[in-house]
């Protein structure tokens, strides 16, 4: 777990998972990252727990003993609970992702997964702001991104970014201080659910970095080896 970038604030996670090894794996990782995790083994217990306490994010396994996780998520949404949900699954068909998202999940991760991948996504979900609360301006250090005009400046100087580079930067800045994984970028920026062999994401992030960091004295975009990328004014 050493390659985790320390996150700014603690998150409270509800984990609904029946397989002990997976549950222990996740809980231990959360504990070491300084976050809180509560575990339930069935949908029924999980829904009861969710109704009694509030959580920042819920991790829902797809295959549970008493019910299909998808149905569990549907029931959760029907009860008015808007807590972000990440679904875990051993199934990896292309359609499963869509089905999960349609049922009300916010993200979908196939097993096996690296804990850093799961953690980065949990952080992103836990901190996600609803549309109305989204700020018009994003700031990281002296880097400013204006959503209305889609312009980016650093230390007052305008940066000339290609549309895709802009979107990558925007996503990184929305999740500033938290790791954004390669897979998250592939899904969000390119909409790819497959993994191209070439270092597609790395190439584009390097180009972005060359424009955002190289001409200036401090590096805002950092690569976290084995996890992904993070933008932060602090190291």
């Amino acid at each position: 777990m050493g390659s985790l970038f320390p996150a700014p604030t603690m998150i409270n996670v509800l984990l609904i998972e029946d397989v002990d090894e997976t549950a222990q794996f996740i809980l231990r990782g959360l504990r070491e990252a300084g976050d809180r995790g509560t575990r339930c083994g069935t949908v029924r217990d999980g829904l009861a727990e969710a109704s009694q306490h509030s959580f920042d994010v819920i991790v829902f396994d797809r295959l549970l003993p008493d019910m299909d996780g998808l149905d569990g998520v549907r029931i959760l949404r029907q009860s008015g609970d808007k807590t972000p949900v990440l679904m875990l699954t051993a199934l990896s068909e292309i359609d499963d992702r869509v089905r999960g998202l349609n049922a009300g999940a916010d993200d979908y991760l196939a097993k096996p997964f690296a804990f850093s991948e799961l953690y980065a996504r949990l952080q992103a979900l836990a901190r996600r702001q609803p549309l109305q609360e989204r700020s018009v301006t994003l700031t990281v250090g002296d880097l400013v991104l204006e959503r209305t005009t889609q312009t980016v400046t650093r230390a007052g100087k305008a940066l000339d970014l290609l549309p895709r580079e802009y979107r990558i930067l925007e996503y990184l800045m929305q999740n500033q201080g938290r790791v954004v994984t390669r897979t998250m970028l592939l899904e969000k920026i390119w909409g790819y659910s497959f993994d191209p062999k070439t270092s597609l994401v790395q190439t584009h992030v390097s180009r972005l970095s060359a424009k955002v960091d190289r001409p200036f004295d401090s590096e805002l975009i950092m690569t976290v080896r084995g996890s992904g990328y993070v933008i932060s004014a602090f190291r």
Binding site: G191, Y192, F194, P196, K197, T203, G226
Partner: protein, 450 residues
């Protein structure tokens, strides 16, 4: 099989015989009844004559040409007309009127006349008055004889001709069926033993058996293809996963060895994770390949703007190729649309460009061209690298096929298989076009109508 034919023949025979006998018997019965009732009517008539005019009236009724007692010759005239032959006798047996050659016992009986005519008669004798009996008889009609003849001839015909004929036919037919069916079941048995290449032989007749055989052959084709692909997959998995798995094993041994040194431990674990990721990628690629080949994605087809899609992927890959020292040149026709799966088509082009980056050694330039006519869209990816040796060109789309036999370069040999599967899902085709320099992969996809 033959038992059925014999049973059917026997059943048919029994039924036919039954019908023959029943109908002839019915006919005979009706004729007999008709004759009896005619005789009874005649008896009633004679009795009424007796009642009104006494014996004299009866005699007079039976008098022909002034004679009460008939001549022998007169009987001939009664044959055709179904007329009655009478005989009125007294107690002593002396003939009073009618034909002397007619005699019978009281009640109903069948008799012959004392006469040359050999035909039997139905006779009825009863008391006319206290001293006389009357016998009324009628010749049995032609129809009766015909029916009886028919009965016997028919039965003989059925036994001697129809029965053997139906047995032979039954045998021949069922043998035919048996032969056809056993050819099919033999093929199935052979395939079940493992020879998946066997097919059911077809006759020229194009009958139901041929249709069944053709359907079976189509099924066996599919079975063979699946069998082959499972074999390929097994072989490929054996080869291509063995290496990273054994590498992983080696790495873990090193980890064990260097367990005390934190920096080395970290290094080993990172590399081990990369190995695991490679294996998982291969499995994912296989799963996706399987999914595409199963054709399930076709249900989600919609209109795709191929021009936009190709442009987007080119923009994404341009820096990647540039980093590998390859200039990307794109010629993309506008407004090329077709029905398909956008995500799979993206993956198709991505795999082709991945291929250029990974394997086109010595390339300096790569071209992506999209053009279209009314019927199809043509997407070409070309590079000016080393190229594929001619003898291997047919194999590059096979699963797990790697040009680089040492398997040093990353990749699992499934990229082009997936490209081919995606093409075929869209009813298109891909081929490696002949080129003097580098590799040209040409994809043809049929367009939407409208």
């Amino acid at each position: 099989m033959f038992r059925r034919a014999i049973a059917a023949s026997a059943g048919f025979l029994v039924v036919a015989l039954g019908i023959l006998w029943a109908s002839t018997s019915l006919g005979l019965f009706l004729l007999d009844r008709e004759a009896r009732s005619a005789i009874e009517n005649e008896l009633a008539w004679q009795k009424s004559l007796l009642a009104s005019g006494g014996m004299a009236a009866v005699e007079s009724d039976l008098t022909v040409d002034g004679q009460a007692v008939w001549e022998s010759d007169w009987v001939y005239g009664l044959l055709d007309e179904g007329e009655f032959v009478h005989a009125v006798v007294d107690r002593r047996g002396e003939l009073r009127a009618g034909f002397g050659g007619l005699s019978a016992n009281r009640g109903w009986s069948y008799v012959f006349l004392e006469h040359e005519i050999n035909r039997p008669l139905l006779a009825h004798r009863s008391a006319l008055d206290q001293t006389h009996d009357i016998v009324i008889a009628r010749f049995r009609v032609d129809e009766e004889f015909v029916l009886r003849e028919l009965r016997w001839v028919g039965s003989a015909f059925l036994f001697l001709i129809v029965l053997p004929l139906s047995l032979v036919t039954g045998y021949v037919l069922s043998r035919g069926v048996f032969v056809r069916l056993s050819s099919i079941s033999e093929t199935a048995e052979t395939v079940a033993q493992g020879e998946v290449g066997q097919r059911v032989p077809l006759s020229k007749r194009r009958d139901e058996f041929d249709r069944l055989s053709m359907a079976m052959n189509r099924m066996l084709d599919r079975l063979e293809a699946l069998h082959r692909s499972i074999k390929d997959v097994s072989v490929g998995i054996a080869h291509d996963l063995r290496t990273p798995v054994s590498t992983l094993g080696g790495r873990l041994q090193l980890l064990e060895h260097d367990a005390e040194e934190a920096a080395l431990v970290r290094k080993h674990v990172t590399i081990a994770n990369e190995n695991v990721a490679t294996i998982l990628r291969t499995f994912d690629a296989l799963l996706r390949l399987g999914e595409v080949e199963a054709g399930r994605r076709r249900a989600a087809f919609r209109r795709v703007d191929l021009s936009e899609l190709v442009l987007d992927v080119c923009e994404t890959f341009e820096p990647v190729l540039a980093d590998a020292g390859i200039e990307l040149i794109a010629h993309i026709a506008d407004g090329v649309r077709l029905r398909g799966d956008g995500e799979l088509l993206t993956q198709l082009l991505t795999n082709l460009l991945d291929n250029v980056v990974e394997h086109a050694r010595g390339s300096e330039r790569a071209w992506v061209t999209l053009s279209a006519d009314d019927r199809s869209a043509r997407l070409t990816v070309r590079d000016d690298g080393v190229g594929v040796p001619v003898e291997l060109r047919g194999l590059i789309f096979e699963r797990f096929f790697r040009l680089d036999a040492s398997r040093e370069t990353p990749g699992n040999g499934l990229g082009l298989s997936l490209v081919k599967a995606i093409c075929e899902l869209h009813d298109g085709e891909i081929r490696i076009a002949p080129s003097s320099v580098g590799t040209t992969l040409e994809t043809l996809l049929p367009r939407a109508s409208g």
